[in-house]
Amino acid sequence: MENIDWLIQGFEQAATPMNLLYAVIGVLLGTAVGVLPGIGPAMTVALLLPITYNVSPSAAFIMFAGIFYGGMYGGSTTSILLNTPGESSSVITAIEGNKMAKAGRAAQALATAAIGSFVAGTIGTALLVLFAPAVSRFAVTLGAPSYLAIMLFALVAVTAVLGSSKLRGAISLVLGLAIGIVGIDFLTGQPRATFGIPQLSDGIDIVVIAVAIFALGEALWVAAHLRRRPAQVIPVGRPWMGKDDWKRSWKPWLRGTAFGFPFGALPAGGAELPTFLSYITEKKLSKHPEEFGKGAIEGVAGPEAANNASAAGTLVPMLSLGLPTNATAAVMLTAFVSYGIQPGPTLFDKEPLLIWTLIASLFIGNFLLLVLNLPLAPLWAKLLRTPRPYLYAGILFFATLGAFAVNVQPLDLALLLVFGLLGLMMRRFGLPVLPLIIGVILGPRIERQLRQSLQLGAGDWGSLFTEPVAIVTYVLMAVLLIVPLVLKLMHRDEETLLIVEDDKDQREKAQA
């Protein structure tokens, strides 16, 4: 029950008036920025990173907790009222949510999304309390070879499983690893890939990379394809739900949470699959299947809960192993690093108070979100009407401000532009962003782990395969890589057969 003690201490830290104020600011900023069209949760966190530079780590983490859930909630508001989801995880919410809004039930759609997010977030955070310390306790017993294997597994999983093209995932990953190499080599002290620029010897500031890839890249990409007429926003009053809506919502919330959390906690889970699974489950179980596709409240409640529970789930590997598995977690990990906190399995041992304050703040932020956002929904809906030139000029402005404020040197702005153009290129050619960010974060840690393991193993590569966990992980990795390949080959056989038959058919026809 040590965890409960720590959690209570965390609440004591987080519940001081000053820190509660930070939580409120975090929730409001997170929602406000998250609601803005074109801004997903990861970009929200990246844009708001600079605000936390000069406050204490605990205050910053409290704000992050608010920004994290606020950004998620803001995204769902956008997809319900605009029908153009900002990220793939809220695509499903948009299907039914926007139909409900068009049918005059926007208030109920927003309410079920908000309350569902609260339920899922609370349960998810409770599960985090349950699992993360245990996973971390197990992870601490692992040696360097196992840890190396797990990090490699995360890289492979994120690159090969998520996203539609493995080739493009790998390209993105390699670019990220390349960026991670820049800086002084930690063992021999030699500058690597620094172009002789002394400011680069500490490596490229990861805040600059995150802001460039997420904010600048996106703004430039939108600038190239800006809609001449912005999409229609549906006006909304204060969200509320009738008795029938509650009856139809509570089960989907719980089922969605059950889908979302495990997927979020897995290195390659993501939020797309659980939201989709939740949607088809609700469609099957619903007493009103005819309403699906026309605005069924279950179709908003379930996927939205799944989305939030998955977000809570991603915090398990992030806090217990230091592994980011989605873009938002990756950016948050960035913030850890900028506070000099080494992410990894020892986090719960080394910074217990900070971590438990963060977890307590997640509960508080989640609650504040519900209390603040139900009455504020009409205001958020107004934000959706921000004229697009101002919106994207604002994103550019704040991205610049954020990157510049890190070290107040124009060099960072030049880097921002270079990586912003890289982000633009990636969006144009369909290279996924996530493997790049994961590569930047994990690349240096993988190299360090590899070299340290081999130092201990006196240069014997066989020493990497001595621990059972490491071997199991490599086997899983091989399965993950080979199975889709085999499936594809089998598929291709069928396809070629079909084509051959087709040809035969045609030849016969031609002859006849």
Partner: protein
């Protein structure tokens, strides 16, 4: 038979996205640079560091070049990436690269002039300019909002966060 075959070929030709060779170029340049750079590093600490500082950049560099080659082979076979979608994106539009170019130009001006002119002046020009480039016709309002944002952020960062942004030519006035 020839008539049925022709449209198929046209379809394939349409799907080849030649601009993707830019990604190939980036990969090859990055890879070649990493390999070259790795070879300039001193090794010879084999006892304490059996892997050495070269290994990782070499692996990444070679991987980058190889992926570039694979992509170069895949492009003519019709491999295309799926461009990003989003709330304000009109997927039908061919791409307004002039706007992007002007924004990049504005950004370069920001990099060069932010220290001499200061954050407030440059921030105003940056926001106002960006809004104008993106199609806002209220020219005065664009720059007034820019000024307000720059001033607010300057003072917020100065007194709120203790980060002094450059005052530039307005040094002493602000």
């Amino acid at each position: 038979m020839t008539t049925t075959k022709e449209p198929r070929e046209n379809e394939v030709a349409k799907r080849v996205d030649k601009a993707q060779y830019l990604v190939v170029a980036v990969l090859v340049v990055v890879g070649a640079f990493l390999i070259y750079n790795a070879l300039t590093l001193e090794t010879g600490f084999a006892k304490v560091d059996p892997v050495g500082p070269r290994f990782f950049p070499l692996v990444v560099g070679i991987a980058a070049v190889l992926l570039g080659v694979v992509l170069a082979i895949a492009i003519p076979r019709g491999s295309v990436g799926e461009a990003d979608a989003g709330e304000d994106i009109d997927p039908e539009s061919p791409g307004d690269w002039r706007t992007v170019g002007m924004l990049v130009g504005l950004f370069v001006a920001m990099i060069l002039l932010v220290n001499p002119l200061g954050w407030v002046v440059m921030g105003t020009i940056f926001f106002g300019g960006a809004a104008t480039i993106l199609g806002s016709k209220h020219y005065v309002r664009n720059f007034v909002i820019g000024l307000a944002l720059s001033l607010a952020s300057f003072y917020a960062f100065y007194s709120g966060l203790g980060i002094p942004l450059p005052a530039g030519i307005l040094d002493g006035i602000l």
